[in-house]
C-alpha cells in the first residue's frame, strides 16, 4: 500500500511525464522545419535520457537566453507593482494626481508584461523538461508540493491584478481608494511569494539541503529553507525595485528625448526624476543585501565563496564593480544635471560639492574594482613579489571594499539631499543647529566607516565580518534615518528662493537614464551568470553532477556577449510592451481626447513648484537658454 508521500511522488512523476510529453509535442511543432535536430535518445532508445541538445545554438545557450529573459521580465513584473503602489500611496497622501496617473500608467503595462512573463516561463519549463529530463525529474520529486503552492499563488495574483487594474477608476475616491491601495498591497504580497517559491528551486541548486527522512512536504520544506534562500529573496526583492525604478526612468528618458511639445517634456522629465529616485532608493541598500548573500555563501560552502571571490570568477566581480560604479555615477550625474538645469541660477553654486562628490566616487570605484589577487604570469608575479601587489593588495580585500561601498552610498545619499535642498532657504530658528548636527553626523559617520575599515585589517576575519562590517552598514543606515527626517522638517518651513522647472534637462539626461537601466539589466544578467557558474560542474551542488557536454563554465568574454544580447532582447521586449500598452492612448490623443498633465502640488519627494510646474509656466521658460 502506498503512503501519501509515495502517492504525491508518483503523481509528480506522472505529471512530469505528461509535461515531458507536452514538451515533446511543442518541440516537434517548433522544430518541425529543422532537419538537423537530433536527440541523444536515438542512439540509445532504451536508456533513460539525461540530456538532449539542439544544433547550432546549443541547449545551454538557448536555456540561458530564455531563462534570462524570463527572469528579467519577472523582475520587471514584480518590481513595477511595488513602484506603482508606492506612487499611488504618494499620490493619495499628497493629493498630487500626477503620481496616481503615473502609477496607473505603469499598472497598465502589467497586464501585457504579466502574460509575456508567463509565456517565457512556459517556454523555459518546456525547454528544461526537454533538455534536462533527469534533473527536472529529480527537482520535481523534491519540490512537487511547492509546485502546487506556486500554481495557487498564480491564481490569486492574477485575480488581484485584474481587480487592481480594472478597479482603478471605480475605486478612485474615499474608502474605495483605501481598498484599492489594500489591493495593491495584496498584489505585492502575492508577487513576493511568487518570487520566493522559484527562488527556492534555484537556491537549492547552489546550497542544497537534502533529507531522506520525513514526508514529501518535510523534504520539500527542508529543501526550500536552504541557507541562501532568504539572502537571495531579499536581494532580488530590492533588485526588482531598482529594476522597476530604472526601467521607468529609461522609458521616461526615451519619451523625453523624442518629446515634441513642452508639455511632454515637462511630464517625462518629472517621470524620469521619479524613476531615478526610486531606482536610487533601492540601490542604496542593495550592496548590503549582496554582502549578506556572499556571507551566507561563504558560511555554507567556503569553496563556493572562494570560487566566486578568489577563484576563476573573481574577475567577474571587477566587472560587477565597474557596472555598479557606472550606475552610481549615472544616478548621481542625473541628480547633478537636475540641480544644474532644473534650478535656474544654481549652475555655479553647487559646482564645488559636485566636483568633490565626483572625486570621492571615482576614488571609491578605483578601490572597489581592485582585485584581491592579480592574475599574473610567473614573470610578472616574480616582479611584484607575489600575486598580491605590495601597494594594491591592501585594496583588494573585503574590508576595503565594504568601506568604499558604504562611502559611495553615503555620497549618493548626500547628492539626493543636496538636490532636495536646492533652491530653498531655511527659515526655522533651529535650522543652524540642525545643519550643524547633520554635518557632524555625516562627518563622524564617514570617519567611523573609514576607521572600522582600516581596523578591519588588524582583527580576525570573524570579528571583521560579524561586527565591523555590520557596524559600517548600521552607521550608514543611521545617517539616512537621521538626516532624512531632519531635512524634511527643515524644508517644511523653508522659503523657496529658486523654483524648480521641469522640462529643461538637456538630452544627455535622457541618455543617462537609459544608461542606468542598461547597467542594472547587465548587472542582473552578470549576477545570473555568477550564480550559475559558482556551482561549477554541478546541476545541484554536491548532489547531482552536470555530465553534459556543457558542464564547464563559459569564459567571461563569451558570457559578456550573451549578456549583452539578452539585455538587448529584453529592452526590445519591454519596448514592445510599452508600445502595445500605449497604443490606445495615442489613438485617443489623435482623436482629440488627449488629457492634459495635471499641474500639481509640490512633488512629495523633492522640491517642485505648484506655480511654475505647469505648462503655462513652461511656456515662458522656453525662452530661457538651455
Amino acid at each position: 500500500m502506498m503512503n501519501q508521500g509515495q502517492i504525491v511522488t508518483n503523481h509528480g512523476r506522472q505529471l512530469a511525464g505528461r509535461a515531458a510529453l507536452l514538451a515533446g509535442c511543442a518541440a516537434l511543432v517548433a522544430w518541425a522545419g529543422m532537419p538537423d535536430v537530433a536527440f541523444a535518445q536515438e542512439a540509445a532508445p532504451q536508456a533513460p535520457t539525461a540530456y538532449r541538445d539542439i544544433p547550432y545554438i546549443g541547449s545551454r545557450n538557448l536555456v540561458w537566453i530564455i531563462a534570462q529573459l524570463h527572469l528579467l521580465l519577472a523582475g520587471f513584473v514584480l518590481g513595477v507593482p511595488i513602484f506603482a503602489w508606492l506612487c499611488e500611496i504618494v499620490g493619495w497622501k499628497s493629493g498630487d494626481k500626477r503620481y496616481d496617473k503615473l502609477a496607473k500608467e505603469f499598472t497598465k503595462l502589467l497586464t501585457s508584461s504579466y502574460a509575456t512573463t508567463a509565456l517565457f516561463g512556459g517556454i523555459l519549463l518546456f525547454l528544461l523538461i526537454g533538455f534536462y529530463p533527469k534533473l527536472m525529474a529529480y527537482l520535481t520529486d523534491i519540490f512537487f508540493p511547492s509546485f502546487l503552492v506556486y500554481c495557487g499563488l498564480f491564481l490569486v495574483e492574477t485575480a488581484t491584478l485584474y481587480l487592481y487594474w480594472y478597479g482603478w477608476d471605480a475605486m478612485a475616491e474615499g474608502s474605495g481608494k483605501k481598498f484599492h491601495i489594500f489591493l495593491g498591497f495584496l498584489l505585492n504580497v502575492f508577487a513576493f511569494f511568487i518570487m520566493i517559491v522559484p527562488n527556492s528551486w534555484a537556491t537549492f541548486q547552489s546550497s542544497p539541503v537534502v533529507i531522506s527522512e520525513g514526508s514529501d512536504f518535510a523534504r520539500a520544506w527542508a529543501a526550500t529553507w536552504n541557507p541562501t534562500w532568504w539572502p537571495v529573496n531579499i536581494h532580488r526583492l530590492i533588485a526588482n525595485v531598482v529594476l522597476g525604478g530604472y526601467i521607468c526612468g529609461a522609458y521616461a528618458g526615451i519619451r523625453y528625448l523624442s518629446a515634441k511639445s513642452q508639455e511632454e517634456r515637462y511630464h517625462y522629465d518629472w517621470m524620469g526624476y521619479v524613476g531615478n529616485f526610486i531606482g536610487v532608493f533601492g540601490l542604496l541598500p542593495l550592496p548590503f543585501a549582496g554582502y549578506w548573500l556572499m556571507r551566507e555563501i561563504y558560511q555554507y560552502n567556503q569553496q563556493m565563496g572562494i570560487t566566486l571571490m578568489g577563484g576563476f570568477l573573481s574577475w567577474l566581480f571587477i566587472l560587477q564593480a565597474m557596472l555598479i560604479g557606472v550606475l552610481f555615477l549615472g544616478s548621481n550625474y542625473y541628480f547633478w544635471l537636475g540641480i544644474t538645469h532644473r534650478i535656474p541660477g544654481s549652475e555655479t553654486q553647487y559646482r564645488k560639492p559636485i566636483m568633490a562628490m565626483l572625486i570621492i566616487l571615482l576614488l571609491c570605484l578605483g578601490v572597489w574594482m581592485t582585485p584581491h589577487s592579480l592574475v599574473a604570469s610567473l614573470e610578472e608575479a616574480q616582479k611584484m613579489g607575489g600575486t598580491h601587489h605590495p601597494l594594491l593588495g591592501v585594496f583588494g580585500v573585503m574590508s576595503a571594499k565594504m568601506t568604499v561601498s558604504n562611502l559611495m552610498v553615503l555620497v549618493t545619499f548626500m547628492s539626493f539631499i543636496m538636490y532636495w535642498r536646492a533652491g530653498k532657504q531655511d527659515t526655522a530658528g533651529w535650522a543652524k543647529a540642525a545643519k550643524a548636527l547633520m554635518g557632524g553626523v555625516l562627518g563622524l559617520a564617514a570617519i567611523a566607516v573609514i576607521v572600522l575599515g582600516v581596523w578591519g585589517y588588524f582583527v580576525p576575519a570573524i570579528i571583521r565580518i560579524n561586527y565591523f562590517s555590520t557596524s559600517q552598514v548600521g552607521i550608514v543606515i543611521f545617517v539616512m534615518l537621521t538626516i532624512t527626517p531632519l531635512t524634511a522638517l527643515l524644508l517644511k518651513s523653508a522659503k523657496t528662493t529658486t523654483e524648480m522647472v521641469w522640462g529643461r534637462m538637456p538630452p544627455r539626461a535622457g541618455y543617462a537614464l537609459v544608461l542606468n537601466a542598461v547597467m542594472v539589466i547587465l548587472l542582473m544578467t552578470l549576477m545570473g551568470y555568477a550564480r550559475s557558474s559558482s556551482r561549477v560542474h554541478w546541476h545541484i551542488y554536491g548532489v547531482m553532477r552536470d555530465s553534459s557536454q556543457y558542464a564547464f563554465s563559459p569564459a567571461l568574454g563569451y558570457a559578456a556577449a550573451l549578456m549583452a544580447l539578452n539585455t538587448f532582447l529584453f529592452c526590445m521586449l519591454v519596448a514592445f510592451i510599452f508600445w502595445v500598452a500605449t497604443m490606445g492612448d495615442k489613438a485617443k490623443a489623435a482623436a482629440g481626447t488627449k488629457g492634459s498633465v495635471e499641474p500639481g502640488a509640490i512633488p512629495a519627494m523633492a522640491g517642485g513648484s505648484p506655480a511654475l510646474d505647469g505648462p503655462e509656466a513652461d511656456a515662458s521658460e522656453e525662452k530661457r537658454p538651455v
Partner: protein
Amino acid sequence: MGNVIKKMVVGIVLGGILFGATNALGFPFVFQALFFGYAMLGAIVFMILDFPTLKPFGGVKAVGALLVFYAILSVVYIAGASMWPQYDPEDEKGKIEKILKPKREHYEAGKVEVLLQRAKALDEKAKELTARLQALGAAQAPADQKAGGEAAPTATTAASGGDIAKLGEEQWQLQECYNCHKLNGEGGKKRGPELDNIGNLLPAAEIARKILDPKSYKAEGFEQEYEKGKMPDKYKDLMEPKDVEALAVWLAGYKNASVNTPKPIKMK
C-alpha cells in the same frame, strides 16, 4: 567647449601618468590598461558635466541614436570582459572529464542489462559492506569509547600510506569534505567537527559507517547540526564502496591527540 577640451587633456595626461607609474611599479599590462581606462572614465564624467547641450533628435533618428548608444555600451562591455584575464574553460573540462569518464563509459555503452546487473552487484556489495561494518562497529566502537579513544585500532593504523591513502585523500578533495571539516589546519569547522584526532576515536569501519549513514554517529557539541541533518545523506549514492573505504582508512590514520576532535556518540 574649452572646458571640455581642457578636461580631456587633463584626463589623458593623468591616464598617461598612471600608466607610466604602474609600469614602473611592475604591474601586469592588463592593470596598466585598467588604470588608464579608469582615468579616462573619470575624465569622461567630468567632461560631460560641461558638455554643450545637443540638439534633440526625433523619430527614426532618435531610435537610431539610442541603438548606436546601446551598441557602443555593448562593445565596451564585451571588449572589456574579453580583455580581462580569462580563465580557460579547457581546465574545467579536463577536470570534469577525469571525474566523469568512467561513468560516461557506462552510460554511452547504452547496455541497459549490463547496467542493471552492475547496479545489482553494487547493491549486494553495499549490503555486504554495511553488514561487515555493523559487525565491526559493534565489536570495536564500545571498546574505543571505553578507552577514551586512546587505544588506536591496530587494523587501520598501517593503512595511512600507499594507494589507498592516496585515494582517500583524493576523495576528501573530490567530495569537498573540507567545506565542513577542518583537517591539517585547513577547512571549515562550523558545521562539522575537526578531524585531526578522529583516528584515536573511531576505527575506519565506523568512519565509513558514518559517511554512509550520517545519522549513525553524533559528534559531541554538534547536537544541533546533527538534528538538522547538516551532514548530507548522499555519499552512499555518490561514492563507490572502495572510495568510502579508502576515505575512512585515510581519516583513521589521523591521530593527532593535541587537536580536540569531539567525541563521537553512537546513535544507531
